[in-house]
């Protein structure tokens, strides 16, 4: 079987940290706290009242029709536009995008229409555009890109899974260029969901801290153009990073809780390392899933301590919250940006080391370091665990 080297030759990122990769790099470097009070709906009776929110001006410049779209579609367009700039207009062999909630705010509108007893002229549009593939289709149509869409939805591991699937397609020679990534926009249903599980905190999001009390939600989109190393070199395109390996594992423990023994993320990390052909001690940095919930961080810390005890660790969710289906893609983008800029992203709001977490946490400020090999972890509901191995070239 063919095993071609796979590289990132285009990347776009829209998140609470910024509307493009340049802004995002600066916010990452400054370890800026981009979590703000929720604006989109009433959270006055919820314990958690904050989230990482994208600064959405209500339309993407140069695309007037985007003003009518779901915010998720605008994020996808902005991220895709930035990703394909080095390529111009092109036809990818596949588009593999992750999400957990699609254009759910339109689904919410549709239900509320019945509740309020008023038929809306927008109803048909809400139905057509709430489905998970529509924001991707909106972005592709606006950019004149014609390609089939595959939507991956494995809860919070989705973004990493989507990149992993694209990586496998190219490495095996079944595809030459694939657009991949993830998106999720903040919506009331999901906010209420994490609130109902008491997983969301009224405090700051403090990954791996002894006093962590839960997550805050976020939103955003990150899109990558992956292609073979040979193809990128032949076209003279700038290579942003190499995707060296991918691993996934399912722990079958509980629908919402990871196995506390850390076997799920440990298996996915070991699988990614084996796939990349790396030894664990060659990993400089791990961007942890690190949601700041008691269970997630304890489980992941065990896996990290067992797999990569020497690596520097941070979760970037303290800066922007948990963007669910987009998280794996956005955090992979953070890894690429940080490797290229020569620093390790900060684990914000870290006060007290957890005695059960003996890790080298990049606490509160970025650390200058020219990382060459990094892992990016994602853990999700349903026992989904996934890890990407990314490297400089």
């Amino acid at each position: 079987m063919s095993r071609r080297r796979v590289v990132v030759s285009g990347m776009g990122c829209v998140s609470p940290l910024g509307s493009n990769c340049t802004e995002t790099t600066e916010a990452l470097r400054e370890a800026r706290d981009c979590v703000t009070p929720v604006r989109a709906f009433d959270v006055s009776q919820c314990k958690c009242r904050t989230a990482g929110q994208v600064d959405d001006p209500g339309g993407v410049e140069g695309f007037p029709r985007s003003r009518r779209w779901n915010p998720a579609s605008r994020m996808m367009l902005a991220a895709t536009l930035e990703a394909i700039v080095p390529h111009g207009r092109f036809t990818p062999d596949a588009v593999i995008i992750a999400t957990t909630s699609g254009g759910m705010t339109f689904g919410e509108n549709f239900y509320r229409m019945f509740l309020h007893g008023e038929r809306s002229p927008q109803a048909a549009r809400w139905v057509r555009e709430y489905v998970p593939q529509q924001p991707v289709r909106d972005a592709l149509d606006a950019l004149g890109v014609e390609a089939p869409i595959r939507i991956v939805s494995n809860a919070c591991a989705s973004g990493t899974n989507a990149i992993g699937a694209a990586f496998h397609l190219i490495r095996s020679g079944r595809a030459e260029r694939v657009l991949c990534g993830g998106y999720d926009a903040l919506c009331e249903l999901v906010f209420a969901g994490f609130s109902s599980l008491q997983a969301a905190t009224g405090d700051k999001c403090r990954p791996f801290d002894a006093g962590r009390t839960g997550l805050v939600l976020g939103e955003g989109a990150a899109v990558f153009v992956l292609e073979s190393l040979d193809s990128a070199r032949a076209a003279g395109r700038e290579i942003l990073a190499e995707v060296a390996g991918y691993g996934a594992a399912n722990d079958n423990f509980h629908l919402t809780q990871p196995n506390p023994d850390g076997s799920g993320p440990r298996a996915s990390m070991e699988s990614a390392l084996a796939d990349a052909g790396w030894s664990a001690d060659s990993v400089d940095y791990v961007n942890a899933h690190g949601t700041a919930t008691t269970f997630n961080d304890a489980c992941e810390a065990r896996a990290l301590a067992a797999t990569c005890p020497q690596a520097a660790i941070s979760s970037t969710k303290g800066q922007m919250g948990h963007s669910l289906g987009a998280a794996g893609a956005i955090e992979a983008a953070f890894c690429v940006l940080a490797m290229r800029a020569g620093f390790l992203p900060a684990n914000l709001n870290f006060r007290t080391p957890d005695p059960d977490v003996a890790l080298d946490i990049v606490a509160n400020t970025t650390r200058p370091h020219a990382a060459r090999r990094v892992l990016s972890n994602s853990l999700g509901f349903g026992g989904s665990n996934a890890t990407l191995a990314l490297a400089t070239l």
């Binding site: 079987m1 709906f41 009433d42 959270v43 009776q45 919820c46 596949a94 957990t100 699609g102 689904g107 919410e108 549709f110 239900y111 509320r112 019945f114 509740l115 007893g117 109803a123 048909a124 139905v127 057509r128 489905v131 998970p132 593939q133 014609e146 390609a147 089939p148 869409i149 595959r150 939507i151 991956v152 939805s153 494995n154 809860a155 699937a165 496998h168 397609l169 095996s172 595809a175 009331e188 249903l189 906010f191 209420a192 969901g193 994490f194 609130s195 109902s196 599980l197 996934a248 594992a249 399912n250 722990d251 079958n252 629908l255 298996a267 999700g380 509901f381 349903g382 026992g383 989904s384």
Partner: protein
Amino acid sequence: MSVAVQGCGWVTPLGRDLQGVWTALKNGISAPVSELKNPFTGTPHAVRRVDEQFFSDTARQPRLRRSSAISHMAVAAAMDACRDADHTAGNDRLALLFATTNGGVIYTRRFFADVAERGAHSGSPLLFPETVYNAPASHVAAALGIAGTVSTMVNDATAGIDAVAAAIELLESDACDRCLVVAAEEADWIICDGYATWNYRPVIFSEGAGALLLGRDGDVRIDCPPTCRTYRTIPDGRRAMKDVVARLCGDRTPDLLISPASGTRFDGIVSELPGHLLQPGQALGEAFAASTVFQLICGVLARRETPGLSLVPVVGLHGQLSAATITR
């Protein structure tokens, strides 16, 4: 590359017995029709439902006690597919790809009803986890002890065939030894109302789950393109479908065409394809991604009876289409 279909299972509005439902379909028997009403407007929708007795049987499984109908159906179909294949070995090298169009819509609607009526603080923690698209896959993985690749794919009806394409990729790259492809949908008034609002009116909506156990060895083989094709208009779709079929079949003529037709304008995309016609959607209703796997299972069962070529075209309502061939 084609792979083998080693086992099949389905939970349909006509029942769960593999041969029983197949015989009924061949004899032109349709599932009974019942009514789902929008409680706010009173608008009735005709649906073909899975028999309630099925759910009382599966609810005895501890993990499924609180789960939505879609997970019950997915688990049952997956277990039946394994049983059909006599698959009793360990599941270390078994992968699972779950496909759906609408996901766990009943619990999602119920969860959001509380939130919309009483505020974001009032959602049920029992319902929310089951609203997540990959909840059914999680239940199937737990029921079968699948620790490797487990992934959920969401799209229009093409999700079902895209999952088969992804399974072929996994088998080809040696990421697994066998792969379960499961697709499931559950019926709810809001889905019926939604599609009617959008002016997508199939003959009758329905629900159910289908599962295929794929592996490397076996006489009945399935093949499909690695990715779907896109279309904009019905004539455009017709052209794209003919091209997909020509590439898949080459100079072979299918002796059975398992049509996705369910009474919508999209049926025109497959109306000119060759082969003796079978339309399971007419008897089982429109269950989106699950209907796709129902079509594929019909193609497999036909080939178990006689050698030949089954052609299964799939048309999604969000501008994607594909097709599969099943041969023996």
